[in-house]
């Protein structure tokens, strides 16, 4: 029902050119080039072991490719630690939920503000001075995220007690708390039932729409991918075999052979 014409996909935000990554004799990525444009939702698909997660890991600095360069906001990027990359505005969620199980939803999302919390250790520990004011401001932002993701009811619940679908949502919340320019989602809907998938799809679209956040996501559910993404990249055995709109990719013979199979 929404009129998509209002959406404006901008310049290239992040560009990977000719990157290769190998672990010993295993070539995880071979000569992959891909652009991520401002405000778009980019899906990365492919069979298991195709190198999708490796690509995300290169983008947010968990791995450093042996060959090729990654350019973010027009600047070629040196090999940075993940924390420094997070500070630049790239946030992510993980294939397996990686939250602090014993902490509440609220506290988990607050940790997403960590890169932006000022003050030294003493001020933080004593909740004192400018730090106190800062934390209040951060709390407001976190509350907005809680409202946005409709998880008010679990604000004070330790995440270990939440069902899986909810944990995924909290993880998205934590990534959003960093106010990223680029959000990387690694299988955000894995293991969810239909209703949870619909909810999550809605949130991904809303994040993209409301905050203009650029999103790159890995997903196996083709229905979801075709519905929500602006562009799709297909990997197979560490190589990029297709790159285009969902319709183009769906019609691509190489993709059908490698991954989609006969249409059904």
């Amino acid at each position: 029902m929404a009129d998509e014409a209002g959406k404006h996909i901008g310049e290239v935000l992040l560009s990977a050119s000719n990157i290769s990554l190998s672990f010993g004799a295993v070539h995880a990525l071979t000569d992959v080039s891909a652009d991520i444009r401002e405000h778009e939702i980019l899906a990365i698909i492919g069979p298991n072991g195709a190198g999708k997660t490796s690509l995300l890991n290169c983008i947010n600095g968990v791995y450093h490719p042996q060959k090729g360069t990654i350019t973010f906001e027009g600047e070629p990027r040196a090999d940075l630690a993940p924390s420094e990359i997070a500070r630049q505005g790239i946030a992510r969620t993980f294939q397996n939920v990686a939250l602090f199980k014993g902490m509440t939803t609220l506290d988990n999302i607050m940790t997403g503000r960590n890169t932006r919390l000022g003050g030294n250790f003493l001020k933080q520990a004593l909740y004192w001075g400018s730090y106190q004011r800062d934390e209040l401001e951060h709390r407001v932002l976190v509350e907005k995220i809680i409202d946005f993701l409709e998880i008010q009811a679990i604000r004070k619940v330790p995440v270990g007690r939440l069902p899986y679908g909810m944990q995924k949502r909290v993880e998205l919340g934590r990534a959003l708390a960093a106010e990223p320019r680029l959000l990387l989602l690694d299988e955000p809907m894995a293991g969810m039932n239909v209703e949870e998938k619909e909810d999550m799809s809605r949130f991904v679209l809303d994040v993209n729409d409301e905050f203009g956040t650029t999103i790159a996501l890995i997903e196996h559910d083709m229905g979801v991918v075709m519905d929500i993404s602006d562009r799709v990249i297909v990997l197979d055995y560490g190589r990029k075999i297709a790159d285009g709109t969902p319709d183009e990719v769906r019609a691509n013979q190489a993709v059908i052979d490698a991954y989609l199979g006969v249409s059904h």
Partner: protein, 687 residues
């Protein structure tokens, strides 16, 4: 004039005397008002918009509404509320709003939707609040039937639903949404953001400064104030039309009955489409000037309840029960010492608390013990539940289990039963302080007359008697007689204490062969209060005695069996165990004993029962989707079982088709035992 007129109604005599000496001129007016309060409410404040304006004038800085937003309770004062409603109203006026226009209000309990109600009423329009979780098809009927021209909705979800059916609803001109999230790319005509409408309203006000005041002044007490569609178990929903007189006089009477003041705090969490919400959370707040709190979301109600600590609270039995269960579960998990403390002091509370609440004499030592319990158990527990400040709590709609009821009363929570329906503006009867029990629903509210019709049906007449069903004179004539008596459809009677007791839907009530009244639901409810009984179906109309089918609660009975080392393989197996028959027989005998104490019911004790081999199931059409027994269907399907209950046999063979969850069908063969029970002598009340 800080206090709204309710105070004067409440202490009528005293105020009248005190004022007579001081202000003779004004008193004449007051007297007039007092006299008329028996027939109409205050002439100057006879509509809700007039009252809203008056509240904004006299207590502008007082808090009318609170909403939990971003984790913090954000207040709206009366003055802010009046401004919100006014600018929205004038924005509607700028769009050509006419007196009498119907406006759908759809969403959770949100301050801005309440302001929407206020805005529409101010212009002489009629709000039609609708259930926010109804699907598009259900909405379509009401939007169409009510001739809705404008809709004020909470968010994208509701907008989507209306857009989905908009083609069939050409009369809808405008949809106003409050939450702009996700709405940026919508281009449909007539879609307006709430705040944009208000901005236009401000401009309209600059050109027409008197418009709002003039429109409010045109309103009268007899005007149609709101239309509430009853969900209707049979047929299409009907639009109940209520006037300002209905709402205001019922509000004032309710306030007088329970001495409500402007200091009350309520939690508005039940659907806006339900008459109780409009009365307790809106009309009464307009009359009394108390504060209404809107929870953050449906899922946070219990947490919000605790934070707010309402003084005046309504909940259906289901919620009271859920809260009690959650307490019990947590106690089970608590340390042994805490468990002992809890159980010890709850025993004290059961003995003493209810008597204290009813103002009966209690020995000094018990009083001290209860006070100690208050420190160690009741106080912390009530605080944890958000019940520390409750002065008046209501339950209605269904029968409530006596032990649930007395649990809260023992803690000192003044829970009472009320009886009413949408057609009566929610209030017909209510229990008075000191005369509260789990069985009755109290005495008629002020100005309300209640009588029992020839067929045993409860009929009533009063200031809350509705105007009629919208565009449905036949249904109106069926329900409301020419002289204003409403047939409730409920069977009931007045007990010795003059309290009304509701026993069943009138059409289900029958007679045993000896003439004893047979009210199946009354008996079934009593049986279902046992944790072991999941469902019960009572038979007896046109028979010599009452007999019942029982469905055991597999969890509870299974647990019970486990503790006794009783092995079983399935529901059917467990249900057939003689030990289980003993257990259920004991439960039924307790119900019989309770009924023996009630002269009207003593003859309808359960004499024979059997435990069904399977659970009654909506998939087999035995229950409705809301889990009400389809009496006639069950009677038909299990005719041979019923016959066996009345031919004296001690067992019966059954072969029945069942539908499995995956749609397959199968047959179950079983032999069901039938047990006889000795009736308890109908002696006068044992207690």
């Amino acid at each position: 004039m800080n206090n709204p007129p309710l105070r004067r109604v409440r202490r009528a005599g005293r105020v009248r005397e005190a004022n007579k000496s001081e202000l003779p001129a004004r008193q004449a007016g007051l007297d007039q008002m007092m006299d008329r309060s028996a027939t109409a409410s205050d002439g100057a404040l006879d509509t809700l918009p007039k009252r809203l304006r008056e509240q904004a004038r006299t207590r502008g800085d007082g808090v009318f509404l609170r909403e939990k937003d971003l984790g913090i309770w954000q207040p709206f004062t009366w003055a802010q509320a009046e401004k919100e409603a006014r600018t929205l109203a004038l924005g509607l006026a700028a769009h050509g709003f006419q007196r009498g226009d119907k406006v759908a209000i759809i969403g959770d309990n949100r301050p801005h939707l309440y302001f929407g109600v206020g805005a529409v009423q101010a212009l002489g329009g009629v709000p039609v609040p609708m259930y926010q979780d109804s699907i598009a098809d259900e909405m379509q009927y009401i939007l169409d039937h009510a001739e809705v021209r404008f809709a004020i909705v909470e968010d994208q979800e509701q907008v989507d639903k209306i857009l989905q059916i908009r083609e069939q609803l050409p009369q809808i001109e405008m949809i106003i949404y409050h939450d702009p999230r996700g709405m940026r790319h919508y281009r449909e005509p007539g879609l307006e953001w709430y705040e944009d409408v208000q901005t236009r309203g401000e401009r309209f006000e600059a050109d027409n400064p008197d418009y709002y005041t003039d429109e409010i002044a045109k309103g009268q007490g007899a005007d149609l104030a709101i239309m509430l569609y009853t969900s209707g178990t049979t047929g299409k929903p009907k639009g109940v039309m209520l006037s300002y007189d209905n709402l205001i006089r019922t509000s004032l009477n309710g306030m007088a009955h329970d001495r409500l003041t402007d200091r009350e705090e309520v939690l508005a969490y039940l659907p806006m489409a339900w008459v109780g919400d409009h009365l307790f959370s809106y009309a009464q707040a307009m009359c009394a000037g108390f504060t209404v709190n809107c929870p953050e979301s449906g899922a946070t109600v219990l947490a919000d309840l605790r934070e707010i600590g309402p003084t005046y609270f309504f909940a259906p039995p289901r919620i009271w029960e859920n809260i009690l269960t959650s307490v019990m579960v947590r106690i089970e998990d608590a340390a042994k010492i805490k468990q002992r403390l809890f159980h010890y002091f709850m025993k004290v509370a059961e003995r003493v608390g209810v008597r204290l609440l009813d103002g009966e004499p209690v020995s000094f030592s018990d009083r001290m013990l209860y006070r100690l319990g208050e420190i160690f158990v009741y106080g912390p527990l009530k605080d944890n539940l958000g019940f520390s400040r409750i002065r008046v709590a209501y339950t209605a709609g269904e029968a409530i289990g006596p032990e649930i009821f007395s649990f809260y009363r023992a803690l000192g929570v003044n829970i009472k039963q009320i009886y009413g329906m949408t057609e009566a503006t929610a209030l017909v009867c209510g229990q008075s302080d000191g005369q509260v029990d789990a069985e009755s629903v109290g005495v008629p509210m002020p100005e309300v007359e209640v009588r029992i019709g020839d067929s045993g049906e409860v009929q009533f007449r009063g200031p809350g008697t509705f105007m009629g069903y919208f565009k449905n004179p036949e249904a109106t004539a069926e329900t409301k007689s020419n002289d204003g008596w409403i047939s409730s459809g409920d069977a009931g009677y007045f007990d010795e204490g003059g309290q009304l007791r509701i026993i069943d839907r009138a059409k289900d009530v029958g007679k045993l062969n000896d003439g004893t009244m047979f009210a199946p639901k009354y008996i079934e409810n009593k049986l279902k209060f046992s944790p072991f009984v999941l469902e019960a179906v009572a038979h007896g109309d046109g028979r010599d005695h009452v007999s019942v089918f029982i469905n055991i609660d597999l969890d509870a009975v299974g647990n019970w069996a486990e503790k006794r080392g009783l092995a079983y393989t399935s529901y059917t197996d467990l249900a057939a165990r003689p030990e289980v028959y003993d257990l259920i027989g004991g439960e039924i005998e307790q119900v019989n004993a309770a009924m023996a104490g009630d002269p009207k019911m003593a003859g309808a004790q359960v004499r024979r029962f059997l435990i069904l081999h399977k659970e009654l199931d909506p998939d087999d059409n035995e229950l409705t989707r809301t889990r009400k027994v389809r009496r006639r269907f069950v009677a038909d399907k299990y005719k041979e079982l019923i016959d066996a209950l009345y031919d004296g046999s001690s067992e019966v063979k059954i072969e029945a088709k069942v539908t499995f969850e995956d749609g397959r069908e199968g047959t179950i063969k079983a032999t069901l035992a039938i047990r006889d029970l000795e009736p308890v002598a109908a002696l006068a009340k044992a207690s």
